[in-house]
């Protein structure tokens, strides 16, 4: 019998801790499929963040390092400088990348650090139970914005791809979503391009993945995807914000 669907080799045979309907599983799978297709699992080192995906180090089959909260780009920098011929990626959430780790993110990007960053934006702090994230939408209710995010008090959300696309060291800044099959296919292509850029020493690539958090949004998985489409995509438009793959020269 022909096998038509199987676990990618670069995913370990370990049940994940993610909530039902969480899109981390899809994104993990896409990254693993890309590692399989490029045949780089044995050459890759992943950096896990602090947040829901902290345990990603158990799920990816490549060597993994767990970074302190927000520091994944710095840890990835250290790894890449020590192992310039290996593939290094970080997998980070919105709090990790765009709040506590903003400095590390901006500077790794502007250095053109030759790494690939998978940025999962679900507009909320999941692991600690649903607090405001830097990407929480105006008016969005969370545990720490119980009356909805008031931008006069809590400030405005950060659009990461738009911000980073102004930096010279960035080879690829693309925002994708995993809310439907078509978008998942686009997302996978973008992730693959992010890894290929690195292999071709083109510099910093970031793929921002708009994703859902049914548990902390208080919605069913299907409702969550609808909410994502209705609320997140207008604020965070999908698309390529920067792609200078041909001319970008990263640090070797």
């Amino acid at each position: 019998m022909a096998i038509v669907f199987d676990r990618p080799h670069a995913l370990t045979d370990v049940p994940t801790h993610y909530c039902p309907g969480c899109t981390h599983g899809i994104i993990h799978r896409l990254v693993a499929e890309v590692m399989d297709e490029l045949g780089i699992e044995g050459q890759t080192i992943g950096v896990a963040p602090v947040g829901c995906s902290v345990l990603a180090y158990n799920y990816f089959g490549c060597d993994m390092v767990e970074a302190p909260h927000g520091r994944a780009p710095a840890v990835a920098t250290g790894l890449k400088r020590a192992l310039p011929d290996r593939v290094v990626f970080s997998y980070q959430g919105d709090g990790d990348l765009a709040a506590i780790g903003t400095a590390e993110t901006v500077h790794a990007a502007t250095r053109g650090e030759n790494i690939t960053v998978i940025f999962v934006n679900n507009a909320i702090y999941g692991m600690t139970g649903g607090q405001m994230a830097p990407t929480t939408l105006p008016g969005q209710v969370t545990q720490t914005t119980p009356y909805g995010r008031d931008v006069k008090v809590a400030g405005n959300p950060i659009r990461v791809c738009e911000m980073l696309s102004t930096l010279d060291g960035v080879a690829l800044a693309q925002r994708v979503s995993v809310d439907c099959v078509k978008n998942i296919q686009v997302a996978k292509k973008a992730i693959r391009k992010g890894f290929e850029n690195q292999i071709n020493k083109r510099g910093y690539s970031i793929i921002e993945v708009i994703s859902s958090c049914p548990t902390n949004w208080g919605l069913t998985p299907v409702e969550a995807l609808d909410w994502l489409r209705e609320n997140m995509l207008p604020y965070y438009p999908l698309g390529v914000y920067k792609d200078t793959s041909e001319e970008a020269k990263g640090n070797e």
Binding site: T12, E41, G42, Q43, T44, I45, V47, A48, V54, L55, Y57, N58, F60, G61, C62, D63, M64, V65, E66, A67, P68, R71, A74, V75, A76, T77, G78, L79, K80, R81, A82, L83, R86, A103, E104, V106, H107
Partner: protein, 348 residues
């Protein structure tokens, strides 16, 4: 050679090719030296966006299995404590240099020894220690940086060089000797790409099951006990027949040496014990001396921090006094001599 430059060159000689830094007085020459040398020998010098980033770059490089170094001064070390805790919790070797200046806060930029507690008690959150070496000459800075890399690799833990602004800025002759290579364990734990030849390595410090975490920390503390029994280092100076013992490390120990010599010239039987490792603290040497010593005097460039460890080691066997200056002032030999005379006079 200038102390700071000696630290940097010693690291290079020890095989370190990855330095991540951030400018801060009075250690900036370490970074400047590395910036000059590393590109010429195929190494990495990277000026990070902050001390926080620098220590985490060290974490990344150390995870890859290479010898990595970062350097800073007191306020910058505070920023690094997060990373130091993670590095210790991940059982990674690395070397951290602290060229101490006055504190707290922005403090001052003159030499100080006020980070003793931080280095030996709480270099980061959680149950952990780092190896702490305290050079007192530029030559010793070279020797101890090399030892620190070896010991860090041997025990899979961070090692700190606790120097100060005076040692960092001063110039003394140094000799960089070829050293026999130590037999060190292979870094089979490194996250450097498994090439499908071994199970994937995970470098992490997160253990959500309390029992797992406790077992791991206990294992680490058994290692710490082995280190305490094997790696204590100190120097004794005119201490054999001494009735009074001065305890001091680093720059202040030099002042004390001058004072001890002067006191001996006046017929006072005084000696010096100079801790070279601050963690593990040379408890044994001080305990031994406590059997015959009438009075201990601890001299520090702080309000009195190491004196705690001296008292713990002496354990009531003799009185322990303290003398020091803080804020960036180096005690003078005459002041220390005065303190020694007070002890000697009091004992008569």
């Amino acid at each position: 050679m200038k102390g700071n430059e000696a630290l940097a060159e010693a690291a290079i000689q020890a095989g370190c090719r990855h330095f991540f830094g951030y400018p801060i007085t009075p250690q900036t020459e370490v970074a400047a030296y590395m910036a000059k040398r590393m590109p010429k020998i195929g190494g990495t010098y990277l000026q990070a966006e902050s001390e926080v980033a620098a220590i985490n770059m060290v974490l990344g490089a150390a995870s890859a299995g290479v010898r990595a170094l970062t350097s800073s001064s007191s306020p910058g070390i505070s920023l690094k404590t997060e990373g130091i805790s993670y590095i210790a919790g991940s059982d990674l070797p690395c070397v951290i240099i602290n060229v101490q200046r006055g504190g707290p806060g922005l403090g001052g930029i003159q030499p100080s020894q006020a980070d003793y507690w931080q280095a030996t008690r709480a270099p980061g959150h959680g149950d952990l220690h780092v190896l702490v070496f305290a050079p007192s000459t530029v030559q010793e800075m070279v020797d101890l940086v090399m030892d620190a890399f070896d010991m860090a690799d041997l025990y899979r833990m961070p090692a700190m060089i606790l120097a100060d602004g005076a040692l960092g800025q001063m110039m003394e002759p140094v000799e960089i000797k070829e050293r026999p290579k130590r037999d060190l364990p292979e870094k089979t734990w490194a996250a450097n790409g498994h090439e499908n030849k071994r199970p994937h390595n995970i470098v992490n410090s997160l253990y959500l099951t309390p029992g797992d975490l406790e077992a791991l920390v206990k294992e680490r503390f058994e290692r710490y006990d082995r280190i305490k029994s094997k790696e204590q280092r100190s120097e004794s100076y005119m201490a054999d027949d001494a009735e009074f013992i001065v305890v001091a490390y680093g720059a202040s120990s030099r002042v004390c040496k001058s004072a001890v010599k002067a006191a001996r010239a006046e017929g006072i039987k005084v000696g010096l014990i100079r801790p070279i490792t601050l963690w593990p603290f040379p408890t044994d040497a001080i305990q031994e001396a406590a059997k015959t010593t009438k009075h201990f005097l601890t001299v520090e460039m702080s309000m009195g921090q190491m004196v705690d460890d001296v008292r713990l080691a002496v354990n009531g066997a003799a009185p322990v006094s303290f003398f020091g200056h803080t804020g960036g002032i180096i005690p003078s030999p005459a002041e220390v001599l005065g303190e020694i005379k007070k002890l000697a006079g009091g004992a008569k």
